[in-house]
Amino acid sequence: MILSVRSKILLTVLSVVMLFALFILFYYPARQTAYLLDNYNNQIENLAKTVALGVRIALNEENFEGVETAIDFVRHDDRLNYVSIIQFDTIWEADTKNFKIQKKIFSTSPENVEVDPEAVSDDLYINKSAPFTSKIMNGEIKVSFTTTEIEQGKRQIRLASAAASITVFIIGLCIGYWLARNISKPVLALRDAAHKVGKGDLTQSVSNKSRDEIGELSVAFNKMVKDLNVARSEVNQRTHELTKEKEKSDELLLNILPLETAEELKNTGTAQAKFYDSVTVMFTDFKDFTPKSKTMSANKLVAELHDCFSRFDHIIKNYNIEKIKTIGDAYMCVAGLPVVNDTHPFEAVNAAIELRDCMLAYNKEKEAMGEHGFDVRIGIHTGPVVAGIVGVNKFAYDIWGETVNTAARLEQNSVANMINISASLYNIIKDAYDCELRGNIFVKGLGELPMYFVHGLKK
């Protein structure tokens, strides 16, 4: 059973109050009753002694005033059962050596009460005796009082104790509740605030103006939350900066690697080479680039290449074609990986057409400015490749295989502003595109290959 702070405080106070209440309820009445009984006994004994003194004076000095006053006082007491003079007579035995004392009732008030000279106190009556001696008579005064008043006194004490006990208990209960509430309230507020802080709400603040330990705890809590808030702000700022840096690095990584390969590399630290049984590899190259490059500055040359290849990048991106690399004025890309699809031949051809048209437009812009553009040659082939990453520094995603060589040869055997494709690609796209057979052309290392120009989509 888990008790709350409020319950614990309340139980503690109630335990103390309960003990005190029990003390008032039982111990206090017992003591008071004993005290009352003691007083009562003393009072009766004193009365008996007073009467005995009065009797002694009356008999010795023939002065009855004392006994009259004393007996009047006793007789008018409502508690009186009887007051009696017991006369002691010495009875000698026949041998005159031994004697015994015979107790005889001399006078009793009230008269009709039967008195036992040997009676002792019991639950109903308290009997007290006081001896007297005189020249006339020896004896004792026996006073018997009822215990009714004692019982009434006991009852009153019990009632008063019960009332006091209940009052103490109620007051204790109120004080306990007040204490529990006052102590637990800030503690519970701290708890609730701590829960909210734990859930991320760092705007929490506990208001407690007391200067006790709980007040100090509240101040410490508020400072902790404030510090946490500052720390979280700093962490958020750092996280934001890190996120931005990560985005930059991811973007950079995606610039050199396909998305899937980049993810694999980030997750596993390596990327496995994969075989693709059908992709479409495209090469482009600028005719007479080398002679033209000699006529312009290096910056101009790089700027021209950057302009052209940027346009290429935008175009192939629209066709989900993966850029592999550029080598000088050559631009190499592949369709159909790393996500395998069946449409890569068409996408590659469409991109090639758009590249060609783009360069034609570019050339016109150049001519309009009085400059020379670049005539692009494009070669495309469809076939199997192996794709992967090589090296540990400045690694690059690349493809290998006969298909790559064939595509490169097709580009080399293409003509300015024309798209030269292989027979394998032709057989796939021939129904959709307007193609022209160029015949078998000898290619170094591959022999004669049938080649086709793609002019555009069939109308």
Partner: protein, 149 residues
């Protein structure tokens, strides 16, 4: 010398004992009282009833106060014998028993007749027994036709 001394002692002894002897010989008693409602004439039975505490109040409601010489005095002793017909001790025990039960007010005992007469003179309803009344203001009760008996 011895004779003179013996005669002196005898004379002193006679001087001390003679008055007592004369009192004993002359132990007449008078009853004095203070109160208009107290009858001036009583018979012995009425007087005894009053002195025994049987009558608590006079006819006018005045409380009866009994004044007696102490029982160890000759007058007291004579009073016990003549009026109460009991010894002094018995008289004390008699009144103790009555007083104890609240039936009577005990007599007031005196060492001298002058004190007794003064008490009677100052206490309305008081009645006392003296050898011979000296205070003229006191009412002398005639008992059985005698003022001394």
């Amino acid at each position: 010398m011895v004779r003179i001394l013996r005669n002196f002692i005898l004379a002193m002894t006679m001087g001390l004992l003679l008055p007592m002897y004369m009192y004993a010989q002359d132990d007449l008693l008078s009853v004095v009282a203070n109160g208009e409602s107290i009858p001036e004439v009583m018979d012995m039975a009425q007087l005894r009833a009053v002195l025994m505490g049987e009558k608590l109040r006079w006819n006018d409601g005045t409380r009866v106060s009994i004044a007696l010489m102490k029982t160890n005095t000759p007058i007291g002793s004579s009073t016990c014998e003549k009026l109460y017909k009991m010894s002094g001790n018995d008289l004390n025990k008699y009144f103790l028993a009555l007083v104890f039960q609240g039936k009577v007010k005990a007599p007031t005992f005196f060492n001298s007749t002058s004190e007794l007469e003064a008490y009677v003179a100052q206490t309305p309803g008081a009645i006392g027994v003296v050898p011979k009344a000296k205070d003229p203001s006191l009412k002398i009760i005639t008992v059985d036709g005698k003022q001394q008996f």
